[in-house]
């Protein structure tokens, strides 16, 4: 292994791990104000929204992302199990990509 590459990887690890770690060291040491607790409860909704859109339509071609998104939303509204939603969405997008 190239020492410069290893040093780069270790540097990347440090700057990635430290932000992941810090909240874990804080948590439980202080009683959180109720507003902050409610803010934390909102984080998953906000983060998932941002992770889904517009990333889902950034692929090529974009309409495949739209198709996959609609498929996943419809199956989710129907309360299909998580793995089923994933598998069917993949199958639909794969089939469509063969035609497109």
């Amino acid at each position: 292994m190239n020492p410069r590459t290893v040093a780069l990887i270790v540097g990347m690890m440090a700057v990635t791990y430290i932000p992941r770690l810090l909240p874990g060291l804080w948590v439980g040491r202080y009683r959180l104000p109720p507003a902050f607790e409610r803010w934390l409860q909102n984080i998953p909704y906000a983060a998932l929204g941002a992770l889904i859109f517009p990333g889902i339509v950034r692929g090529e071609p974009a309409w495949l992302g739209v198709l996959g998104g609609i498929t996943a939303v419809l199956l989710s509204l129907w309360d299909a199990p998580l793995v089923a939603v994933m598998v069917v969405t993949i199958a639909v997008v794969f089939t469509a990509s063969l035609w497109g």
């Binding site: 540097g11 990635t16 998932l48 992770l51 939303v73």
Partner: protein
Amino acid sequence: MAPFPQPPSTALAYHELRAGIRAGLPVAVGYLPIAIAFGAFASEAHLTPAEAVLMSALVFAGASQFMAITMMLQGTGGLQIVLATLFINLRHLVMSMAVHHAIPRSSRGWRALLSFGITDETFALLTLHEAREPVHHSHVFALGLVGIAYAGWVVGTALGSWGAQVIPAAMSAAMTMGLYAMFIRLLVPHVRRSWRAAFVAGTSMALNALLGRWLNPGWAIIAATVVGASAGLLVGGDA
């Protein structure tokens, strides 16, 4: 919260670990094609298989790893790559707060271990798992979930960097859509049930699309998440 949580019995811990592995399996399978693509991409930048696997094993953050290889191919200096990695992965700071909030009864050592495994996908499963049973708040469950996802990422990298094209290119593009489907499946029930969740997610989507015009994707997601979650404080309703 008990200051000194009782160590769980071995049988219970085993049950929780298995439940965690089962919950994390979809993420591991979703990671495989992306990790294989990463391994192949890394060998294009003349990383040896050992170096590619080391990067996946120590960094465990897909987007930043792809970006690092792209920058290496462009001849960018190491310091700039590390700085860009910091910015892209800073979003995990916010996610980590929510994850540790959801797993309250773990020791510092456990939190340090679990923190290493926080990614967009493990965060999503750990904070929004649909059936909220006591087991989903257990650190052993979280370890199983994170561990299997990690295994998928590292094994996939190894396969890709040794040139194994296990998954056809057309299939792996579609499989990437599987992780988006997972995010959607986790979010939809909350959006249906709660105006606040719908408002927060919608605001955050719009903000991310808007901010993405000026900011790099890492910063846009952080800003959209923080502002979106804060906007949710303005509306009432249950979570």
